[in-house]
């Protein structure tokens, strides 16, 4: 039922939110990027969504290790794949936004760095999973790695603040003073959230089917 709701939500919200970004949200001042500032409406929700997805993977990992029920393994791989999608989006939209605003694509500042580290960490999960045949060991190994990766996230958060800043360019609090900026952002949050739930549930269902087939093939 949740996925049905999420699907409807996504179908409604995504076009609506994108429309708001395109036509309702005002073009920002040139200092913060002009038209390019609108990437912010994709960048920030992607970041939140990636965190949510990876958080789901942590829950799924712990749940699998406790119950050994296959559906948690399916949820784990689904959430990490979807999380990687949004994480990739963050790491790509960040530099695209950065160039017109700050003149450089890459600046070693905490947020971009932590997402880049997360990207590599969870890419490792997908590679690890790809290297193993379906089975209980693959699920257990994946779950354990997902737990280790998630535990690492707050430590990465602390550690990237140790890197000497090139210059603290990343806006800590985006200036959302202009009218319609906040509603547009919230609409994008909702749209991305619904999209995330939809994608994860579809992917998890696919994985459960795959696991069932693999199980049958071995019998």
């Amino acid at each position: 039922m949740l996925d049905g709701l999420a699907l409807v939500g996504a179908v409604v919200l995504v076009p609506m939110a994108l429309g708001m970004v395109a036509w309702v949200a005002p073009v920002a001042q040139p200092e913060i990027g002009g038209v390019a500032q609108k990437i912010f409406y994709a960048h920030v929700p992607s970041a939140i969504t990636a965190f949510l997805a990876f958080g789901t993977a942590l829950v799924a990992g712990v749940a699998y290790l406790r119950t050994r029920a296959e559906r948690w393994d399916a949820l784990g791989v689904a959430s990490i794949e979807v999380g990687m999608l949004f994480c990739t989006l963050v790491v790509c939209t960040g530099p695209i936004w950065a160039k017109p605003v700050w003149g450089v694509y890459w600046n070693p500042e905490p947020r971009l760095l932590s997402f880049a580290v997360m990207w590599f960490t969870y890419a490792g999960y997908l590679i690890l999973r790809g290297a193993m045949d379906a089975g209980a060991r693959r699920a257990a190994v994946g779950a354990a790695y997902a737990v280790v990766a998630s535990i690492n996230v707050p430590i990465v958060y602390l550690a990237v603040r140790l890197v000497p800043p090139g210059s603290q360019l990343h806006p800590v609090k985006a200036d959302l003073a202009a009218p319609w900026m906040r509603p547009t952002l919230y609409a994008m949050f909702a749209a991305f959230g619904a999209l995330m739930v939809t994608l994860i549930s579809v992917r998890a269902r696919l994985e459960r089917a795959r696991l069932a087939l693999a199980c049958q093939a071995r019998l």
Partner: protein, 238 residues
């Protein structure tokens, strides 16, 4: 409860076994050492600054990236060490034996951790002076706090390496997958260690490290605890 060996006894048994296997293997520990030295030397050649003092920096201080190179070398050595620690097990079915034994899995994990940690410490005892020579650092009283800090860092690296080694044990592509997993996970520790090393070797006291110490401590504790718990889930066979 199981009638198996007590916690400390199991830990000691695994530790002694691992160290004994290391000692008896032919030039195995030296592989790690030579590789780490090679990494150091390669970077020293590849980087424009050398061991001699330049006008930009006072004599006796290392070039800016030297600490980073040192810890990358140690990290790569940890990859080799962890890979071999479990290669030995899978070759003779030892992993299944460990899984089936009545010993507490956490004790087995800590035994392996101590063995790898000891190897890395011994490695560091050779590598660090080599780095000092290659990059031109004149050691003084800052060695003691640096040694303590480095020891703390090595514990964390060994902790994740031991768990990830167990995760990838028996995989056909283990030699690729293990570094692929270990490097991102160890990145926060690496960042903290490099920054702390720079500060300590410049003569700052340990207390000045502040957040750097917090990161290392958090990394060590979080991963030690998590790995000790997770180990039993990853050594069992399919």
């Amino acid at each position: 409860m199981s009638a198996g060996p007590g916690f400390l006894r199991a830990l000691g048994l695994v530790l002694r076994k691992d160290l004994r296997v290391e000692a008896r293997s032919r030039g195995a520990a030296t592989t790690m050492l030579v590789f780490a030295l090679l990494v150091l030397f390669t970077f020293a050649l590849a980087m424009p600054t050398g061991a001699t003092a330049t006008a930009d920096r006072p004599p006796g201080t290392m070039p800016p990236h030297a600490a980073g190179v040192l810890w990358v070398a140690i990290l790569f050595a940890a990859v080799i060490g962890a890979s071999r620690a479990y290669a030995v097990e899978t070759a003779s079915g030892g992993l299944d034996g460990l899984a089936l034994s009545p010993a507490d899995p956490a004790a087995v994990y800590l035994g392996k951790l101590l063995a790898l940690g000891l190897e890395l410490v011994l490695l560091a005892v050779v590598i660090v002076p080599a780095a000092f020579v290659l990059f031109g650092h004149a050691p003084g009283s800052e060695l003691a706090p640096f040694a303590l800090f480095a020891g703390l860092g090595i514990v964390g690296i060994a902790a994740v390496a031991c768990l990830l080694g167990a995760l990838t044990a028996g995989l056909a592509g283990r030699d690729f997958v293990l570094p692929l997993l270990l490097l991102p996970i160890a990145l926060p520790q690496l960042v903290a260690l490099v920054r702390g090393t720079d500060m300590l070797l410049a003569g700052r006291p340990l207390a000045d490290l502040g957040d750097t110490l917090v990161v290392v401590a958090a990394f060590d504790l979080a991963h030690l605890a998590a790995s000790a718990v997770l180990f039993e889930f990853v050594v069992g066979g399919d």
